[in-house]
Amino acid sequence: MKQPNTVPSSELMLRETASQTAGPYVHIGLALDVAGLPEREEEIWNQLAKPEAEGEHIEVVGTVIDGNGDLVRDALIEAWQANAKGEYQPEFDLQKPFNSFGRTATTASGDSEWTLHTIKPGAVTRSDGKVMAPHINLAIFARGINIHLQTRLYFEDETRANAVCPVLNAIESPVRRQTLIAKREEADGKIRYRLNIRLQGEGETVFFDF
């Protein structure tokens, strides 16, 4: 034990375990079906909302693109979002109609899109009373990514809420705010939002530290 008041406070604290890339085989651990492994009794995957979940049912899709403009075909994405009322549901339970957490991955072939089946989240009120526009928190893991990248997905048709969102407004460049806004499409009677995540270069997605 260290003698109180004799060492800097940083020395009284442990250091976080260092991060390493999730690597190209992340699917073995976190997306078994993508790796070609049999699934277990329950898996954490991309259906956050069952048909009976309350709210507007949507599909959220996108790609991940590297600094050369090439598709990142081995990315794993984690999503964390509020329910339709703007509340997070920490208790993950696949028996429930909605879960706040999900995972998805880009595909090794074809258009390499990731997909989430979910409901549109409600606006979330911060403890200071400011209202954040509806959003989905995303974390991106892949080979070549040494520590996961954290971003948010916002919705194109929430123009007024987006305009006053304290987090969007914390991004100094209005041009860069646009990198977080998913475009709305309607196809086969489904509402779909699309956001391409650009890791580097022109149109580089805003990534957060928090």
Binding site: M13, L14, I28, E42, A108, R126, M132, N146
Partner: protein, 246 residues
């Protein structure tokens, strides 16, 4: 409100590997060039996270000696994977040493020959018909987790002309919020491939590399059965703020 009076110790970005680490070649085109945007006022969005206590798990989800078999009819020794039997165990604590109970720890690894059971791995070492390479469990009340597995082999990969990964197990931990989310790799004490690995070398501080070394623990080894490696995980510390922000 779900985020009243809570925040986490700031993540030290100089301790973790930088996004751009050119000796690890894949990081060059996959690293942002712009700065991260700091959220000085973390909200409920960042301060909460999933709790997996209700995730249904199989009896052998944390036992890689038993949880995969191409031929389910095989029994006993015929159904066991090749390799050094080992226990990997440890504790998940936060930066203040407080145990993190009931949190999800997931791991994946190559087999004893250094081959992954993955569609995209074409290394010439053979697959083991009795080894899948994935495990998961929740920490207990005191933050302890435990897996049984075989020691993975090192393997070559295309980076430099002749790069080899040290033996390692990928480890994923959630912690109390998405702010504590962490994926790392456990290396094995004494492995001479550690200091020459371009992925290990993405980390600048040698003390940070030490946080990823699993240590042989003879006291937890089972005589005539298997060795044990201890690997504790430290996630960001949770702070309480006692005064109103006005």
């Amino acid at each position: 409100m779900q985020d009243d009076n809570k925040r986490f110790v700031e993540r030290d970005r100089n301790w973790h590997p930088p996004a751009y680490a050119p000796r690890y070649k894949t990081s060059v085109a996959r690293s942002p060039r712009q700065s991260l945007v700091s959220l000085q006022k973390p909200s409920v969005s960042e301060l909460t996270g999933p709790d997996f206590r209700h995730l249904r798990m199989g009896a052998h989800d944390n036992d890689l000696l038993l949880n995969f078999r191409e031929n389910p009819a095989l029994e006993g020794q015929a159904g066991l994977p090749i390799g050094e039997r080992m226990i990997m165990f440890g504790r998940v604590v936060d930066q203040f040493g407080k145990p993190v109970p009931h949190t999800l720890v997931e791991m994946w690894q190559a087999n004893a020959g250094g081959r992954y059971r993955h569609k995209k791995d074409s290394y010439l070492a053979p697959l083991d018909p009795n080894f899948g390479g994935v495990g998961r469990c929740l920490t207990d009340e005191q933050g302890w987790y435990r897996f049984r597995t075989i020691k993975p082999g090192p393997y070559p990969w295309p980076n430099d002309m002749n790069s080899w990964r040290p033996a390692h197990i990928h480890v994923s931990v959630i912690g109390p919020s998405i702010s504590t989310r962490l994926i790392t790799q456990m290396y094995f004490e004494g492995d001479p491939l550690i200091p020459i690995c371009p992925i290990v070398q993405t980390i600048n501080d040698p003390d940070a590399v030490e946080t990823m070394i699993g240590r042989l623990d003879m006291s937890r080894s089972n005589p005539m059965d298997c060795l044990a490696y201890r690997f504790d995980l430290v996630v960001r510390g949770e702070l309480q703020t006692y005064f109103e922000n006005q």
